[in-house]
Structure formats: C-alpha cells, structure tokens
C-alpha cells in the first residue's frame, strides 16, 4: 500500500481510470476530474532514510499528495542529498518542479534520531527555510507530518493538518475499539476496547478528550475520556438513550441527544456534568447536534417536517430554520471551520452519499461515487473531509477535497471501520 506513483505511473493510472475503475488496493490517492491546480514538488529521499524505521520522505509525499494541493515530481536525482547541500536547480526546472525538499535522518548515539530538512524554491534557486528535530524513533512519523505541515504552510499559506489526529471505531468480531491515529490513519493507538458498541466520538476543542457513546451498560450513555491517561467520566446517563455528543467551540458545554422526556430531543449539558437544559421542543426526532464554529448556532437533524432534514437554531434553542430542502433523508451535519460549508449525508435513490452545501448560496454538490457514506468530519483547516464508506464491499475511511476531486483511502485497519472524527490543531 505504500507504493508511490512516479509521474509516469501517475499518468498511466490517470489514463487507465478513464476506462476502468482504479483498484484501491494498488494506490492510495485518486485524482479525478480536471482543472484542479496542483503545485509540483520534488521530494528527495532523505539521507539515511533507508536506515530509519520510518521512510520520512514517503510520509511527507503521501501527506502532501493527499491534501490535493500538490503533485509530486520525480526527485530521484536528489536522493540522499541532505539539507546542507545546495541542489542542482536546473535539472528540477526541467522537470517543472516548483519546489524541492531535501533532508536527512541520522541515528544519534543515544538511540534518538536527528531529522533535518530544507525546502527550496527551484524556480528562484532560493532557500525557503528548514528545521531540525532530535526525537525518539516512535516520533519519526510525527516529525514527518510536521515537515509536511511546514511545506504546506510555506507554499499554500494555509496551516497544514498532517500532524493532527483522527479518532475512529473498528469492530472485529464482538470487539469494538476506539482508536486515535495520525491524520493519515496510520500509527493507530487503542483508546478504548469494549464488547459493546462505541459510536459518535467527538474531539474536545483542545484535543485532549473524546466524548463518545458507549453501550457497555446495555444502553447508550455518554462518556468523556481523557486520551493521555485513559480516565473516563460518565457525562450523561439519564433514563432512556443518551447520544450524539458535540462540544461547543469553547469546550464549556456539550450538545447531546437525550430521550429522558420521551422523544429524542437536543439538550445542552455543562462539560462538568449536571442538569441538562432542553433546547428543542418538537416531540419529533431531533438529533445529531453540531455547533457552528462561532458557537452561536446549532445545526441538527429533525423529522418534524415528515422526513429527516437538517435545521439550525440559536445555541440556546428557539425557532429552528430549515437548511436542507432537496431529498427525503438528509443527516449527519458537519460545518467547516470557517462556517462556509455544510457537509452531510443525503439518501439518493437508496444510496447514502456525501454532499457539500455552500451555505451562502445553498448550492449542493454530491462529491463521491460510493453509496454507503457516513459520518463526515472537516479537517481543522477546512480543506479536507474524512468520512466512512464502503469501497468494493469493504469498509474504508476516506479523505476528500471539498470538490471531491482528490480522494485517498486511509490506513490499513482490518474489520469494520467507521465513525471518524478529525481532531483539532494542537498548540
């Protein structure tokens, strides 16, 4: 799965995909459609990479390609060139690369690694800066993601999300596991393992905790779980079902769905616990609350109009306004960090498909070719979405650009994989 496309191979696969569905098993990043502008970058193999437990250059390259903003150019002529050597720019100008990344990974006497890199502007022949990290072997992937973040920010002006984390759930036999992984789905670490289902993980705004729904007591209840030490705290265990936790952006409050008064309704609950405040009064199903990034609105799903649709209301409740109008089944709202886009799942001819709406115009686009899409979640820079779906009959986590043109399959977890939630930037 770690195969890398040379430009020649990319062209070949690109041509092939016009006549046949590409095989997910053979490469990770699918480019579809035309017209997207991608910056050509040459990423040389890091000096010493072949003796390091992680191939740093390959991780950086995969990150940048997955972002949809970069196209990698053959850099083999600079392989092993470290951060302190000045490259021969003319050969990269001939390959139409705009920039070049070189670096090294050196094992230190104490077992740690010294990782350094430098980014070059090939066109101007200029040094765009570099960094160095002295780190343990277990942090080499993180260092690679930090390098990708540096490159991404330097060349696009946007913050990179490669060093952020994902939460997701797998089911293998009767075992349900909540994982915390790198943004590429790799390096997954188990946060919770249970014989009963776990659903709806939701990152706290500071990235230290996950709220989620666990069925371990034979009913859905909401826990808040501190990732670093495994401490768990029951947040909501009221009569009936407790589900769909979502943090307010300031971390003080969670919006949740409770059925304590009969119907599934939305409540606000202090993050420390206590008495919930009821926000909807419909008697219909109201669920899947999602705060707007400024915390002033709550988007949610309601069947008050006869079919599930997405609505929004003030964060203290009040008269909701309907947001989705086409189709008879629109669920699982997620709002982009800049508040401009709504991602959601819509049922179209029996298929469940990821859609993105530009909120200012109401224009909606379906951005996948799959039919079992679930649980969209925006990256903290708003440039990518992660979602769960099925590809060739197997569960998969995917990332996609908002226009749907660049998609990547994440990780290699076995078993059912579902319920991704993209964590925040870490300070």
């Amino acid at each position: 799965m770690r195969t890398h496309d040379t430009p020649a191979r990319r062209h070949f696969l690109g041509a092939l995909s016009l006549v046949a569905m590409p095989s997910w098993a053979q490469f990770r990043v699918e480019v579809s459609g035309v017209g997207q502008v991608q910056m050509p970058i040459a990423i040389a193999g890091f000096k010493g990479d072949d003796q390091s437990p992680q191939r740093i250059a390959a991780i950086v390259r995969d990150d940048l390609e997955r972002s949809g903003q970069f196209r990698s150019v053959d850099a083999s002529s600079a392989n092993g060139l470290d951060e302190s050597s000045r490259p021969d720019f003319s050969s990269f100008r001939q390959k139409a690369a705009d920039s070049l990344l070189t670096g090294s990974a050196t094992r230190l006497a104490d077992g740690r690694y010294d990782v350094r890199f430098r980014l070059w502007d090939v066109v101007k022949g200029q040094d765009l800066g570099g960094q160095g990290y002295a780190i343990g072997a277990s942090e080499l992937r993180l260092a690679a993601h930090r390098i990708a973040d540096f490159v991404y920010e330097k060349l696009t002006g946007d913050k990179g999300v490669f060093s952020t984390r994902l939460a997701y759930v797998t089911k293998s036999g009767q075992r349900h596991t909540l994982w915390v992984a790198d943004s590429d789905g790799e390096n997954a670490q188990s946060a919770l393992s249970s014989q009963e289902p776990i659903i709806s993980p939701s990152w706290s705004p500071n990235g230290s905790q996950l709220a989620y729904v666990s069925f371990e007591s034979r009913k859905p209840v909401i826990y808040v779980h501190t990732i670093a030490n495994g401490q768990r705290r029951l947040l909501a265990n009221f009569r009936g079902s407790n589900s769909a936790p979502c943090w307010a952006p300031d971390g003080s409050t969670l919006a949740v769905t409770l059925s304590r008064d009969g119907a599934s309704q939305i409540y606000a609950l202090d993050a420390k616990g206590g008495e919930p405040r009821r926000l909807t009064q419909s008697g219909s199903i109201d669920t899947e609350p999602e705060y707007s990034p400024d915390g002033k609105l709550i988007y949610f799903v309601s069947d008050r109009g006869g079919s599930p649709q997405i609505y929004r209301m003030g964060y203290t409740g009040g008269n909701p306004e309907r947001v989705t109008f086409s189709g008879t089944y629109n669920i699982s709202p997620s709002i982009s960090p800049d508040g401009r886009f709504l991602a959601f799942i819509s049922r179209v001819n029996g298929a469940f498909k990821l859609h993105v709406m530009e909120l200012s115009t109401g224009v909606v686009n379906a951005i996948t070719d799959t039919s079992a899409d679930e649980s969209p979640s925006f990256a903290p820079n708003g440039r990518l979405l992660v979602y769960a779906t099925q590809v060739q009959g197997r569960d998969a986590l995917m990332t996609t650009t908002l226009d749907g043109k660049i998609k990547a399959k994440l990780g290699q977890q076995g078993g059912d994989i579902r319920e991704p939630d993209w964590g925040p930037f870490l300070q």
Binding site: Q195, S217, V224, N229, S332
Partner: protein, 197 residues
C-alpha cells in the same frame, strides 16, 4: 518551532546549542515518550449501573485539560456487561414494518403477558431495547429505535404498568439480530425486545 535561518550551516551549530535545540524541539513536538509512562496498568472501568442517576459529577476524577501536548494514548479495556434476569415465559420481541413505529395488534398477547408480570411485582424492572435495520446513519437509527422502544413502553403503560418500571432505550443499528441485507434479515432487525435486568 526552531527555524534555522537561510544559509546557516546546520552542521556548525555548537554542541550546547544542539542539545538545547533538541530539547526544545522535543517539547514542540509534544510527543515525549517519557512524559507519561506506558507501563502503567490500563484503567479497569466496570459497567455503569443505575440508569436514572445523572452522574456527571460522579465517577472517575475530573479530567485535567492541560494535556493538550501529550500524544500518549492510554488504552482502556472494558469487562463484559451484565447478564439479563429472567422474565415471564413466552415471546418478548415485537417486530415492526419498514419505517414504522406502530405496535401491531398481533402483539397484544405478548404485551399482556409482560404487563401481568410487571404488575404482579412493582419491584420488577423491564428495559425495552429498540433496534433498526442497517440502512442509514447510526445516530438517526438510534433515534428511530428509541421511537420503537417508546411505542412498546407506552403500550405497556396503557395496560396499567407503572411508568417507573419500564425504561425505553435504543441500540439503533448496532446490534442486528440477522446479518443479511435481504428483506427477511432486515425485517428481523426492526424490533423491540423486552428485557429484565
């Protein structure tokens, strides 16, 4: 973050500066393997009980939010959940039509048997578990299953069962009775089960 300025020859950084840089970078990376021991035993958290209590302030000590920079993930493994108690003999599962929450007249006998059992001893507690087929979102299905469980709970109430004896909960599509995606399997999954705890 340490930014090595243009043109600086990194190899010439003095040893002391290098050590300082190393520790600063390690801190910036936030992944110090040594900051939380990995060999501490996993937290064992028994299945919670007492379904009516608001336990927001109880349980394990309040989590400290000052752990943003720590990338350690402490794994927790849960023990198996509690077993059911016995109820009255006979059928306990109410099946529903697609997209329906109507308890069909066929189930009147089942409901009367459960109601008699509950009314005979007010200490008895039933939990109605609602389920759906696997089409659609997990949270929306949870709400649909809740509606089915609630419909059965209300039917028992009409037969004179005290409200406090019956709790309606939902598993949504998480616990299918049949795994196929054919209509017969999906029909078996659209159900509410009467359980005793």
């Amino acid at each position: 973050m340490i930014h090595i300025s243009r043109g600086t020859n990194m190899v010439s950084i003095s040893h002391i500066k290098k050590l300082a840089l190393a520790s600063m970078v390690a801190a910036a990376l936030g992944g110090c393997a040594s900051s939380v021991p990995l060999d501490t035993p996993a937290v064992e958290d028994r299945a919670a009980s007492g379904s009516t209590a608001a336990t927001g302030s109880a349980g394990l000590a309040g989590a400290d939010a000052n752990t943003t920079n720590n990338r350690n993930v402490q794994s927790v493994d849960l023990s198996k959940s509690s077993q059911d108690k016995l109820g009255p003999a006979g059928e306990r599962i109410v099946y529903f039509d697609y997209d329906s929450f109507l308890v069909k007249a066929d189930y009147q006998g089942l409901l009367e048997t459960q109601a008699r059992y509950l009314k005979a001893d007010k200490a008895r507690k039933a939990v109605i578990e609602g389920h759906t087929d696997d089409r659609g979102g997990r949270e929306y299905n949870l709400a649909l299953g809740q509606k089915r469980a609630e419909a059965v709970r209300r039917s028992l109430g009409l037969l004179g069962v005290v409200d406090a004896q019956v709790e309606a909960v939902s598993f949504g599509k998480e616990k299918p009775a049949a795994l196929g995606s054919d209509e017969a399997s999906m029909a078996r999954n659209r159900r509410a089960e009467v359980t005793y705890r």
